[in-house]
């Protein structure tokens, strides 16, 4: 029983550490690609400390609640995702519950953004929801294909059935694995899909009115969402490692590839992004579903 409680407290904290480490690593790698030194790895931590010592402006109760809702949603999703053997809420529901609680992230930001009076926010939120719509379609098909392939909705069973190296990525389901890999930049909000918080077009979209501690919470939520998206990919397709270290190693490689893609492409326009997301990834995911039905 005591281990359970430790797991409950420990796993979100570990997710936060890994998420912030990834943000720091992200800025360091991008800086090195730009041929410059870049900030220390712990810079995002320093930013969050500074932001919590700054007096932000609040636009009413709903403005704060939306942000807290989005942060709570991301922490709850972390509890469901197994990483390296620890999965606090193992038995109560698997992929479907993750799917629902993952929707809290964009909706929370949309709820809190609605309060701010800046027109950039409303444009940013409409972009965020349209982009979510964009990548939800292939994402649902991918989850459908994995569930029907393994005949289970519990993510822990999927991880266990991928023991000693026959990962789903190498199994006949590799098409939906590639589809997931193609929509990962859109889910992480990295270029070429960082249409939502485009500083040059709509001056960082929904985060326009966040200052001080609100921006701090927004950064923490962003680091959690990075952790969730990559951890889900590693669990479903790369067999989610025996202990934390293997798991972290796989996440690092995926994240490194995402950063390389980020620093080589400019930003797409919204309709171009949708045209891309509903074209190849959706076709691959659909084929994945058919293959999972035929093969089993």
């Amino acid at each position: 029983m005591v281990i359970k409680i430790i797991e409950f407290i420990f796993s979100p904290f570990l997710a936060f550490i890994i998420g912030v480490f990834f943000l720091g690593l992200f800025r360091k790698i991008v800086a090195r690609i730009h041929q410059r030194y870049g900030p220390p790895i712990i810079q995002p931590l320093l930013d969050v400390i500074k932001l919590f010592h700054q007096k932000g402006f609040s636009h009413g109760a709903l403005f704060d609640l939306g942000l807290i809702l989005s942060l709570a949603g991301s922490i709850v999703v972390v509890l469901f995702i197994p990483f390296g053997g620890i999965c606090p809420l193992k038995s109560s529901g698997g992929l479907l519950v993750i799917l629902y609680t993952m929707l809290f992230l964009p909706l929370g930001i949309a709820l809190s953004g609605g309060e701010g009076a800046n027109p950039n926010i409303s444009i940013g939120i409409s972009r965020k929801l349209i982009l979510c719509l964009g990548y939800e379609v292939p994402f649902l098909l991918i989850l459908l294909s994995t569930m029907s392939f393994y005949r289970t909705i519990s993510i822990v069973d999927i991880v266990n059935s991928q023991k000693n190296f026959h990962w789903t990525l190498f199994s006949p389901l590799f098409l939906s694995g590639i589809a997931y890999f193609m929509i990962l930049p859109a889910m992480l909000g990295m270029r070429p899909f960082d249409i939502v918080s485009a500083p040059q077009e709509i001056s960082s979209g929904p985060a326009v009115e966040y200052g001080g501690k609100y921006l701090g919470l927004f950064h923490i939520q962003h680091s959690f969402s990075i952790f969730i998206m990559i951890a889900l990919f590693v669990d479903l397709f790369l067999g989610g490692g025996e202990n934390i270290f293997y798991f972290f190693l796989k996440m690092l490689t995926i994240f490194f590839i995402m950063v390389l893609i980020h620093s080589v492409f400019p930003r797409l326009r919204l309709e171009q992004a949708l045209r891309y997301l509903w074209k190849w990834p959706t076709i691959f995911a659909f084929l994945g579903v058919i293959i999972s039905k035929v093969v089993r």
Binding site: A31, L46, D47, I49, A207, E209, G212
Partner: protein, 189 residues
């Protein structure tokens, strides 16, 4: 550069946080803006000191007034300054914000910027070089350490006089005063 000094971080995290993560508003107010891109890009790289440009005043705590200020820009500067969250620092570049500089006899440029908004740091040079900008940033660190970078506190205390100066130049300002100004004292002020 006491960034790795854990003890100081634990004693006063707010001060250290503000020192090593100065976010500058991306607002090119004057001709000094030509030296900001080289400073934030790979040749000089201000990001290793934690200085990055951010899109909106809400997210920023450093405001760099780069070069001369024209009358129309001053209105935008005052609004941007007032939207920034509380511990905020301003640095003025070059000689034009100090006393009008080369455009001392121009009908459209502001001569002394510190009559309208408080300025913490001044960097000399008719367009200071990137090294001068870094020296300005490190001086700002020392001022934050000593607690001398109190522009925003001066603005809150003497808001009446700043507001009167602004209204003397622009006439009636379209936005409400940031801090309550008791009207009766302002009449004879």
């Amino acid at each position: 550069m006491d960034r790795k000094n854990i003890l100081k971080w634990l004693k006063e995290p707010g001060k250290m946080g503000h020192k090593y993560s100065l976010w500058a508003v991306y607002f090119c107010t004057g001709c000094g803006i030509i030296e900001i891109p080289p400073t934030i890009t790979s040749q000089w790289d201000a990001e290793r000191f934690g200085v990055i440009p951010v899109a909106t005043p809400r997210q920023a705590n450093l405001f760099m007034i780069t070069g001369y200020v024209s009358v129309k820009t001053l209105k935008a500067i005052i609004r941007t300054y007032e939207q920034m969250p509380e511990p905020k620092y301003t640095v003025a570049f070059g000689s034009c914000p100090i006393n009008g500089g080369m455009y001392w006899d121009s009908y459209n440029t502001i001569k002394h910027i510190d009559k309208y908004i408080p300025i913490d740091g001044w960097i000399a040079g008719c367009m200071p070089r990137p090294e001068a900008i870094f020296i300005g940033v490190t001086k700002l660190w020392m001022m934050i350490d000593k607690g001398a970078a109190t522009g925003y506190i001066r603005y809150r205390k003497n808001y009446k006089f700043y507001r009167r100066n602004q209204e003397k130049l622009f006439g009636k300002l379209p936005w409400p005063p940031l801090y309550p100004v008791d009207e009766k004292e302002n009449k004879n002020g």
